[in-house]
Point group: C7
Chain length 108, copies 7
């Protein structure tokens, strides 16, 4: 039996989970020199790929929607997140509350 997971788009997060593609570390200096991998700084930033339907409030039955949406640029915590490999790419699954902040540059 081979992998069931053919693309990140096939992943439908459950509950309040958020699928994020993390930014790759910068591998060139401003002047164009390559930085060796062990010197590259890990970036805690990413782009939201998809989000779950939200968590259901068990008292009222209401669904609490997720606070970010596909396409949002977000700040990620240094630890945590569930890694998911799709082909050669690695994605991360967070719960909504773990996402620290949205990044909204004016020139977005």
């Amino acid at each position: 039996m081979s992998t069931l997971l053919k693309s990140a788009q096939a992943l439908k997060p459950l509950f309040d989970r958020v699928l994020v593609q993390r930014l790759k570390p910068i591998n060139k200096t401003a002047s164009g020199l390559y930085i060796p991998e062990k010197n590259q700084e890990k970036l805690n930033q990413g782009v939201v790929i998809s989000v779950g339907p939200g968590m259901t409030n068990t008292n009222t039955g209401e669904v609490i929607p997720v606070s970010v949406k596909a396409g949002d640029q977000v700040l990620l915590p240094s630890f945590g997140g569930n890694p998911v490999k799709v082909g050669e790419e690695e994605y991360l699954l967070y719960t909504d509350k773990e996402i620290l902040a949205k990044i909204e540059n004016n020139n977005n």
Copy 2:
């Protein structure tokens, strides 16, 4: 006394538990060569075999149904799950909230 458990179908999960059959690791390369077992990558993917009736909300008495159903393809967490052996096959029992995402390929 011998085993009571004659098939995975005999298992009726309680509460919000989900019985999952995990995908076997890929043991051949694309070109057909066998990969030695220690080099095979464990896949965090599986197929739902059966689900419990759901957890009862102790405040309202309402049953909260499980978010996946038999036949669903799912993404599993790297850790956790209760292993159950039926004959030579190994299954896993998760609670509903532990299942990370559904996998829905268009060509399913």
Copy 3:
């Protein structure tokens, strides 16, 4: 003073506790050879002997009945449970939520 506990039937579990008799490990191969004790595989299966009256919902005063009943065949977790010795037999006390699944073979 000698033991108060003369039979497993004398035990009346409190709250949502479930008294289970675990299956003994298989000690003979299919062809009838004896398996030495250290090679016998422990079976996480058992039969429910008796159950408590259920836990009381402290908000509503309602009793939440236990989800299994005497005679049910059940799948047990690998860890946990309170051992109780009656004569030479060992039983286990679990809370209702610890029982993983019921085993319902068609030919039961």
Copy 4:
């Protein structure tokens, strides 16, 4: 100042606590031989001496009575309980929820 505690009857457990006298280990074999103390098996059984008034439900103000009563024979957990020494005798204080089961032999 000498001990205030002259008898176990003077102890009035608070809240949902249960005062239990544990069974002494069996110190003679069936044929009347004495068993040295280090070989005597500790018995997780006891008799309830007195119980507290029960815990008050802080939401409704209702008192939830204790599930056992003085004179009940009970099964005790292997760990826990607060030892109380009265003269040469040792008693144990448990909370109601820690008591595993009642022991009700027909010939009681």
Copy 5:
């Protein structure tokens, strides 16, 4: 600046706290011989000096009074309690729920 605390009576416990004076260990045998300090047994008994106004139920605003009162003789847990030194005397502050039992001898 010298101590603010001139007597145990000056201490007004807050919330559901209970100020207790522990019994001193017995330092003489019944026949009048002195017991060296390291052989004296610590007594888990004491007398309540004062109690707080009780904890406020944050749902209903009602105050839940403390279950013991000044003058009560009480059984103390083996661990816990906040030591308070007033002059040469040591007192202990417990929360109401930590007090195990009242001691009510008939000849009190």
Copy 6:
């Protein structure tokens, strides 16, 4: 950039926090001899400098006021508290529930 904190009076505790100035250890005997610093006993007593507005009950929206006020003499726990340095003086921030008791001497 230099310190923003020019006096303890500038500190406005948030929520149910309490700013306390701890008593300095006694550094002279009754007869006027100086006690070396390592022999000075730490005093768990202090004076309340300021208090927060109280915690908001998230169910009812009501604010639960802090149980002590500026000027109160209080008994502090042996551990905990958040140290704040203002110039050469050290203050401590506690939550309301951590304060053990008020000290109210008659001759206050």
Copy 7:
């Protein structure tokens, strides 16, 4: 892919999070001498850059606003906070409840 985060202003904290710029340690004595970095004292003070919309009360659906606002001078706990690097500057993300106190000097 290069950094998405071009300025601290681009960060929009989620829920009850607070973005704070910590004060730099004092690197000169009053008389103008430079203090070596290892002798500089870390200051637990900072200025609020931006705050999240507040946490939603899942019982009532109401949003509980954050207790500080952009521009507030605040006292920070010694531990905790999520570091965020923007260019050469380091900021910290706290939850509202972690902020100890506001600093309000009269000459602000």
